[in-house]
């Protein structure tokens, strides 16, 4: 900043003595043509009102292939500067910079603009400003480069009439300003922090939780200043459910890293209608506790993997899955069963190992098929998608609980339920082993996402055969240790002999199972809010009660006495009731984000009614204008639209004046009713904006990138129709 001030000062003092008389600048005018740039001073008002701020813009129209620079020019170059000469009391703000581009000039990285750019400056005339007109004089200087660099300057002048009310300029100019404003980064809706690695390289984390990695691309962080972050040709950002992580390279400055690292974050989001670019001004706080590992650098970007690499990662990942806290209980159970088998025929061991592997692989294949099928119909799938469904989460919690009770010895599974563990030996192991494999996969999926991101991202974004191959490779990895054990007699000899310790082990293993159930309930609260705990724990009590009832019966009589039937009936009712909680939970998935206290990242309903088809139809039938906003917590474009177009004071006021019924549909958890509406309108996802004018037969579908003026003009058109 001192540099900037010094330069500004220098310009003011010695401006006319510029070495490069590039512009014929003697009679100042609003347009100056230099060798490489046409510079023009524009205003978004035709007449200004004293006391009311307005915008002016320096427009640079460059020769093809030439570029001027952003506030941080990168590894070379200089930013455009404007020195103002203004009537007393009139103030000019700093340049409000549009989103820059990256230029790679033979390996030297620059940040700047090409073709045509409007640099915005806010002018505030004092309320006391008198006269018919006032004059804005700007001395602009810039460096413009293609292969060679040329400093140029222009003296520009704009005379504006003063009026009692500001009048907007001509539509063409207004359109230019509108475009320029849209091109300015908005304040980041997310907090950000950064840490410094041992080598001094900073890593930025933007805490945009819950984004969908496969829809986010081209992430780039433009540091606002030279010095602490190097200008890089390419940044390998990774998008996880935690947020956006951008490993950077330290800059040339030797001063300590700042308390806050400022810059502009650019990314593109794939939406149903195409790709949208978004830009945010980020200020990341230095987090001394965050010391990024150099190795995490490479965990980024699934698209950089080849199929072979992805298969290898998947296999490795599957192996590592065996150490996951969530798979561990199942695996431990398997180990116990295996110990029991020890000493049996080798062929039996082998059959057992193969059955387990088959169970794992079939489950992965089923999952792959589901992924491919869902992708074909919906468009995209995230890993762990099944856990998006609170019902699934609840059922898994029940399953863990019941398996835990079984391990504790509360009851024994009957032969018919031989699937999960106990009936293993009785059934000769094969079927049991198969289902243990299935169970291992079911509980493994929530564990995989965080660290298998690269291979999974690859799998989910690939054509069907590659998806299947990667998922199967992962399954093979998961099954491999056990398979190896069952195939290798040498390893088997290392296993301990069966004995009473096995019962103790089995009872002990109940506890990790209970812990897993607790964890699933926690997940459930994230999805459904605190009510989920009530339903889940209540359901568990009912299940335990049912098991107790059945146990009373199972001991005594073989023929069914009326008492047994009664107990069975009550037990069935209890189980049914436990599963009824499922319905209760499924009813209200939309409350997820708001109820769990994660309101900051959830969908905000302030001033909006919750969408339902009935409410929309009813309001429309009543002759009211209806605006529908289909949104999701993970949709960046939705968020941006809300900030710049839907929740601005002007739009809110206009909505109110036109008595618009504002409905918001939250698709964060794939609400079925909203999905059906989207489908009817031929949309695969959000954002989607509908506007029903009163009496209109069909809603108008607004573009997926909204502007305030777009909404205002829609609303004013119905106001006019009314008159």
């Amino acid at each position: 900043m001192p540099r900037f001030l010094a330069l500004l000062l220098a310009l003011l003092v010695a401006g006319p003595a510029f070495a490069q008389p590039a512009a014929q600048s003697s009679p100042a005018q609003s347009v100056v043509q230099t060798d490489n740039v046409r510079a023009e001073l524009l205003s978004d008002v035709a007449a200004a009102k004293p006391g009311e701020p307005f915008w002016v813009g320096l427009r640079q129209t460059m020769r093809p292939k030439w570029h001027t620079y952003w506030k941080n020019p990168g590894e070379s170059g200089l930013p455009t500067e404007i020195a103002w000469t203004l009537p007393a009391g009139v103030t000019a703000g700093p340049i409000v910079w549009p989103v820059p581009h990256v230029f790679d000039i033979g390996g030297v990285i620059n940040y700047g603009f090409k073709d045509d750019i409007l640099l915005l400056v806010r002018i505030t005339p004092p309320a006391t400003l008198a006269g018919d007109t006032f004059k804005l004089a700007a001395e602009a200087n810039w460096l413009v480069c293609e292969d060679v660099c040329i400093p140029e300057e222009a003296k520009l002048e704009l005379a504006l009439p003063l009026a009692a009310a500001a009048t907007p300029s001509d539509p063409k100019t207004r359109a230019l300003f509108e475009t320029a404003r849209r091109n300015v980064p908005m304040e980041s809706p997310w907090a950000a922090r950064y840490g410094v690695s041992k080598t001094g390289d900073p890593t930025l984390v933007v805490e945009a939780k819950g984004l969908k990695p496969d829809t986010i691309g081209n992430v780039y962080f433009f540091p606002a200043e030279w010095g602490h972050v190097a200008a890089m040709a390419k940044q390998t950002a990774s998008v996880t459910a935690e947020g956006i992580r951008i490993p950077l390279r330290k800059g040339e400055a030797k001063t300590p890293m700042p308390a806050a690292l400022a810059g502009t974050l650019v990314l593109t989001e794939k939406t149903a209608d195409g790709t949208v670019q978004q830009a945010f001004d980020v200020s990341a706080k230095l987090d001394p506790a965050f010391v990024p590992q150099a190795a995490t650098l490479a965990a980024a970007g699934g698209e950089q993997l080849t199929l072979v690499q992805a298969l290898l990662f998947a296999l490795l990942g599957g192996l590592i899955l065996n150490l996951m806290p969530c798979v561990f209980p199942v695996l431990a159970m398997k180990a116990a069963a295996f110990a029991r088998l020890a000493g049996h025929e080798r062929s039996e061991m082998r059959r057992d190992g193969l059955a387990y592997t088959a169970g794992v692989l079939v489950s992965f294949a089923a999952m792959a098929a589901a992924v491919v099928a869902i992708r074909a119909s919906v468009g995209d799938v995230s890993w762990g998608f099944q856990f998006q469904s609170p019902v699934f989460t609840l059922l898994i919690a029940y399953l863990f609980f019941v398996v835990g009770l079984n391990l504790s010895g509360v009851f024994e599974f009957g032969n018919r339920l031989a699937g999960v563990g106990q009936g293993l030996v009785a059934r000769g192991g094969t079927t049991g082993s198969f289902f243990t494999g299935v169970l291992a996969v079911i509980v493994a999926t929530p564990c995989t996402a965080p660290f298998m991101a690269a291979a999974l991202g690859f799998a989910l974004s690939q054509p069907a055969p590659a998806t299947v191959a990667v998922l199967l490779a992962m399954g093979l990895g998961l099954a491999l240790p056990y398979l190896a054990l069952s195939m290798t007699p040498a390893l088997q000899r290392l296993m301990p002999r069966p004995g009473p310790w096995m019962d103790r082990l089995r009872q002990f293993l109940a506890f990790p199972m209970y812990a897993s159930a607790v964890w699933m309930i926690w997940v459930l609260t994230q999805q459904t809010g605190s009510d989920g705990v009530l339903y889940a724990l209540g359901g568990m009590i009912l299940i335990a009660f049912a098991i107790w009832l059945l146990r009373i019966g199972s001991g005594s009589s073989t023929s069914a006495s009326p008492g047994t039937w009664l107990r069975r009936g009550v037990a069935a009712a209890a189980v049914l009731l436990a599963f009824a909680a499922v319905l209760k939970i499924d009813d209200s998935p939309a409350t997820a984000a708001s109820a769990s206290g994660a309101a900051t990242s959830g969908v905000n309903f302030d001033g909006w009614e919750r969408f339902s088809r009935a409410r929309m139809t009813e309001a429309h039938a009543a002759g009211k204008p209806v605006f529908v906003d289909f949104t999701a917590a993970w949709c960046i474009t939705c968020l941006v639209n809300e900030r710049v177009a839907l929740e601005t004071p002007a739009t809110k006021k206009a909505f109110e004046q036109a008595s618009v019924v504002k409905l918001k549909g939250d698709w964060t958890n794939r609400d079925a009713e909203i999905t059906s509406v989207l489908k009817e309108l031929g949309r695969a996802g959000v954002p989607l904006y509908l506007f029903w004018a009163p009496g209109a037969e069909n809603p108008k579908i607004l573009p997926q990138v909204l502007t305030e003026s777009m909404i205002l003009s829609e609303l004013s058109s119905i106001q006019q129709a009314k008159r």
Binding site: R3, G107, D147, G317, Q388, W519, V523, Q526
Partner: protein
């Protein structure tokens, strides 16, 4: 990866090792890398405009200045037109400093010169470097990560890079700014010769973009 929120962070802790094992993807290669101040300066050998060979290794015991140049660059012209560059070259020579001007823009680009042109420029501009190195393959510039002309470097008697950055503190093409600017190189040289550490050892260089050979990136 998904919308589904679990305590990833706690899981991640346990997984760092696994993650590291998976991190086999190649890291991005950077176009220009600049040696750090305080580290040994990259060695080079180059031929000057009079056919004499210069090697940095032979200059141990002497303080060396490297100045990248492009005589057609307005920022280089600023400092030569104002005699700022020549004055500093003479001051340096008087103190026993070896000042190497290097014409490192790639052959065929603006600023690339033949030995004869280089000598002609030295005469016309009344310049006084110890030598003008002819570097049409940009080897020296690349070794030092130069991004602009003029980009300035100071190497102490032990061969350590002690300064890199701009010639002065006001990035403009205006000659009138020179007296107002802090002359980084002059200040740093005085500090080095006095045996003191350089206060501002890495500054923002300004000027015209360095023109590297097109094929090599």
């Amino acid at each position: 990866m998904s919308n589904f929120s679990v305590p990833r962070r706690s899981l991640m802790l346990g997984l760092t090792a696994g993650g590291a094992a998976l991190a086999l993807a190649p890291a991005a290669a950077f176009a220009t890398t600049s040696p750090d101040v305080g580290k040994p300066a990259p060695l080079f050998t180059a031929v000057d405009s009079n056919g004499k060979s210069w090697s940095l290794a032979d200059l141990k015991g002497k303080v060396v200045v490297i100045e990248t140049t492009n005589h057609d660059c307005p920022y280089v012209r600023k400092h030569y037109n104002a005699k700022n560059m020549q004055d500093q070259q003479r001051e340096a020579a008087a103190k026993g400093v070896v000042w190497l001007t290097t014409a490192s823009n790639a052959a065929g680009e603006q600023g690339a010169v033949t030995p004869a042109q280089a000598n002609d420029l030295t005469t016309r501009r009344d310049a006084a470097p110890a030598a003008v190195l002819i570097d049409p393959q940009s080897k020296i510039a690349r070794a030092y990560g130069a991004t602009v002309t003029p980009h300035m470097y100071i190497i102490d008697a032990k061969g350590t890079l002690v300064y890199k950055g701009g010639i002065d503190s006001i990035p403009s093409s205006n000659v009138a700014d020179i007296p107002k600017a802090k002359q980084y190189v002059r200040v740093a040289l005085d500090e080095v010769l006095a045996g003191k550490p350089v206060t501002e050892a890495s500054t923002q260089a300004y000027g015209c973009t360095m023109k590297y050979p097109r094929t090599s990136t």
